[in-house]
Symmetry: C2
């Protein structure tokens, strides 16, 4: 084959989660809720004798992406570009893995369905230790509720109905592997409670309010994040910490209203998808 | 509550299907495959003492919409607008039913999750006899494969990965109820075969090729549709009949290349969603 194929995957901010580990990566994952964003990860795959990965023009190693290429059985040049911060709780590694799976399937005519590709990317992400639930959420778009962990057909998804503006501020990176690789029992109990609450009262406002409480209960807030959350609350807004990043996100103009100068994006109605090639002239 | 809420639901062209009837509308439905479109149905719901429904400004009766309002337990004015032809195989009734469910939930804070609302709209559509599978496909977006019939949690969806331009030509209306209410055994066998073929080789091209064969095997092609399909084939394009409408759709520029002057749209990556209200001034 020749040429290249590009996929777009929405960014995903996890609001809260619980960790579920099994002997198999396809059934390992997280339950929880989050928001997908109209900003995301654009991944271009082209055939090559030697696989390589770049992120915003810099050569990088993203284990989940390398595992996807191996699973599909191809070698390729993978170029990722993103408008969201890296290592800050936006699901960039999951997005790159899923984008690679979708684009490689199209380029190499690998013959997988969407669920099969989502499963390949989820398994790669779990094996790499870089995430537990972003991939299935990003494949769906919207405001995903992850009711059962793992990849399809094991996972079970629902959603909160909603769209609208999101603001965010990022103060730095944070390692997902450090948190999900450690002791997660207390965190998971808080995540289960939050999911139950959102299922009872499914709305954007409940989702973000329970995400805010989860950050406190799980003891994950940095001092900076704590200050910003207090400021947004004081001005009547809804904000929470992105899991897992040193990032605050708010509904609507929550951060601006509190006097900050945030980045702005939207809740994504779009699922992960290959981007049609421009017409040939 | 005051004001109104608007939802957008992508149009859905069914390529092929099989009919599965049970004693319960939630488990009744169709298996099959189709394409959701970036053009669709916009439904605005506002509170009212007496329910009424309009389509593109004309008062109409859409039984599926009326059943959704009853199921949610509200009375409302429902105003639908669509850029696609009505009664021509684009899922306008399913889109209006789902849009009503999503918008009414938000307006009346009815407290349903997305899956619950999709189920309400699917059941209403099945009870009204106006469709069997559009609603769950439209809720998802993309190129849905309906592997198991019914509403969630009963149905099971997968998808073909893909996007890109779609062209279509419509010659007139056709009653879905007449076809799905009649003898469907032969049609269903052809639909099952087509679904199996697309699962084996999941691509846009396979989907449309099997849809074209299904139209022939099911004996549903009008003379006009047959002529257009032959012309598109002769010029090297991929086209099929929309189930159920007197409509031909083609991938990319299939109809233009064959000398026709079609409408143009895109495969939708977007799921059905409420449309954020403009900011209050």
């Amino acid at each position: 084959m020749s040429g290249d194929v590009t996929a777009f995957v929405p960014a995903h901010i996890t609001g809260f989660f619980s960790v579920h580990r099994t002997a198999e990566p396809a059934t390992t994952g997280s339950r929880g809720a989050g928001l997908t964003l109209s900003d995301g990860i654009q991944t271009t795959v082209s055939s090559s004798d030697h696989s390589s990965v770049s992120l915003d023009g810099e050569a990088v190693s993203i284990e989940a992406v390398e595992r996807v290429l191996k699973a599909v059985g191809v070698s390729a040049t993978v170029s990722c570009r993103t408008g969201v911060p890296v290592g800050a709780g936006f699901g960039v590694s999951g997005g790159a893995a899923l984008g690679t799976a979708l684009a490689a399937n199209e380029l190499f005519q690998a013959g997988y369905t969407e669920r099969e590709l989502v499963s390949i990317a989820h398994v790669a992400e779990v094996q790499a230790g870089s995430g537990l639930g972003d991939v299935v959420a990003q494949a769906r778009g919207g405001l995903p509720l992850r009711l059962e962990p793992g990849a399809q057909p094991h996972c079970r998804l629902d959603g909160v109905v909603g769209g609208g503006p999101i603001e965010y501020l990022t103060f730095g990176e944070r390692s997902t592997a450090d948190v999900i690789g450690g002791e997660t029992a207390a965190l998971s109990r808080a995540g289960e409670d939050a999911l139950e609450a959102v299922r009872q009262t499914p709305s954007k406002a409940t989702l973000v309010e329970r995400a805010r409480q989860f950050g406190e209960e799980a003891g994950l807030l940095s001092a900076k994040v704590e200050t910003v959350l207090a400021d947004v609350s004081a001005s009547g807004g809804s904000a929470a910490m992105a899991m897992l990043g040193d990032t605050v996100f708010a509904l609507d103009s929550g951060l601006s209203d509190a006097g900050y100068d945030p980045e702005r994006t939207q809740i994504s109605a779009s699922r992960a998808t290959v981007v049609p090639a421009p017409p040939r002239m």
